[in-house]
Amino acid sequence: MFSEELKTLRRLGFRHLLLQILNFASVIASGLMLWKGLGLFFNTESPIVVVLSGSMEPAFYRGDLLFLSNPPNERYHTGDITVYKIPGAEIPIVHRVLETHDILVSNATAKSRKDPFAKYLPGPNQLLLTKGDNNHVDDIELYQGLDFLERRHIIGKVRGFLPYIGYVTIAMNDFPQLKYAALGGLGLLALIQRE
């Protein structure tokens, strides 16, 4: 089945093979860099996440795609929907903020001389309590011993969403063969086609 393509490749030489592999590799690389770039611009480790459980119904259903951002110096308010990850737990959780507490910790930097309230920057010094809309109790049990979430546990705040699209990711994770098949197909296409 591939004898025509193999003959063509052998005839065209080594540089051509390198170029074709570069085609495939640069598609992957640009996707990766797009992801990392989005993460840098929105200050979040994972700018797009998929909802896995039904704990936020009727706002978000399983399979929805969420767009996150994490502005470092903005306060989080009650009612914001956040995605957080407790160290030790693998899966991030999407729930709504129920309570916030501001810790006024003195932050001895040069800025504090010009602005007396600089040391009370709300961003890194907030404690949060969350609860899923569809749950009966708040998330204390999920915090693995902590009483409150700290800002450093938060991946980001939900800014927008797309319904149903996340099912592609869920399918890829539940059936890893799909992932390898998609990657293999893409690789084959990139190697055989030319520009």
Binding site: R15, L19, A25, I28, A29, M33, K36, G39
Partner: protein
């Protein structure tokens, strides 16, 4: 011994006994053109492409041209444009991979400066690659060089760029006469003593419908194509287009 001819008629000029020199009225130390070095039928592979895809047709013509002109005693292909594109592209891929690995291994907050550096480097490399391909490389498909040692060392440099001229949409009847064309631009430079004295600088241009080279099944008639290329290049070498 006279060289073997393929299916087409012989050229009207007599072929001298030495075989590789053209017997024309030019000076005896003229470097040989591509038509005078004949391809034997056994050396040929069958080329079959998808007739409906103009990209495939152009790529097949480009590849045939490169093969035809880089035979022994003819031009040696200079791979500078390809190598620059490969270098920039692979550098970008490696930077992207390294940045991804670094961001995965190290905590997000600590990795931010490193990931910024990697991201900006990747954007610079990709921009450079795109600009190079658009401005410097353009339509060029073949750059070849040859040094011949007759009375003096003659260096030749040929640059060929090709593009497809699409069919004008006024008449949409598919027919052999109404097919997209393959258009070539050839620049030929001849110089001696290490490029210091210029002997000739010629340009030639030619185009022909794809239907002249490919039959209805998509098989390429290589002799026709090579004859056309050879005539164009020899025309450029003699300076007819100037």
């Amino acid at each position: 011994m006279p060289p073997k001819k393929s299916t087409k008629a012989l050229s009207p000029e007599p072929v001298p006994a030495s075989g590789s020199r053209r017997g024309s009225s030019a000076s005896p130390d003229k470097p040989p053109g591509p038509l005078s070095i004949v391809v034997t039928p056994e050396e040929r592979d069958v080329i079959k492409v998808n007739n409906a895809s103009v990209t495939d047709l152009k790529n097949a013509c480009d590849d045939a041209l490169k093969r035809y002109l880089s035979r022994p005693n003819l031009f040696k292909q200079i791979h500078l444009h390809t190598d620059v594109r490969l270098a920039l592209g692979w550098a970008g891929v490696i930077v992207a991979g390294a940045t991804g690995l670094y961001g995965w291994k190290v905590d997000f907050e600590q990795s931010k400066p490193g990931v910024w550096a990697g991201f900006i480097l990747y954007v610079i490399l990709t921009t450079l690659q795109t600009l190079y391909a658009y401005f410097v490389e353009g339509d060029i498909i073949f750059v070849g060089r040859r040094k011949t040692f007759s009375k003096r060392i003659i260096t030749e440099r040929v640059t060929i760029s090709s593009r497809t001229i699409p069919v004008s949409s006024s008449s949409s009847q598919p027919s052999p006469a109404n097919a997209p064309s393959y258009s070539l631009n050839i620049t030929y430079l001849q110089s001696t003593s290490g490029g210091k004295s210029l002997l000739a600088k010629n340009r030639a241009q030619g185009s022909m419908e794809y239907s002249a080279f490919f039959d209805e099944k998509g098989l390429m008639v290589q002799e026709l194509f090579e004859r056309w290329i050879g005539e164009l290049v020899e025309g450029a070498m003699e300076g007819k287009g100037a």
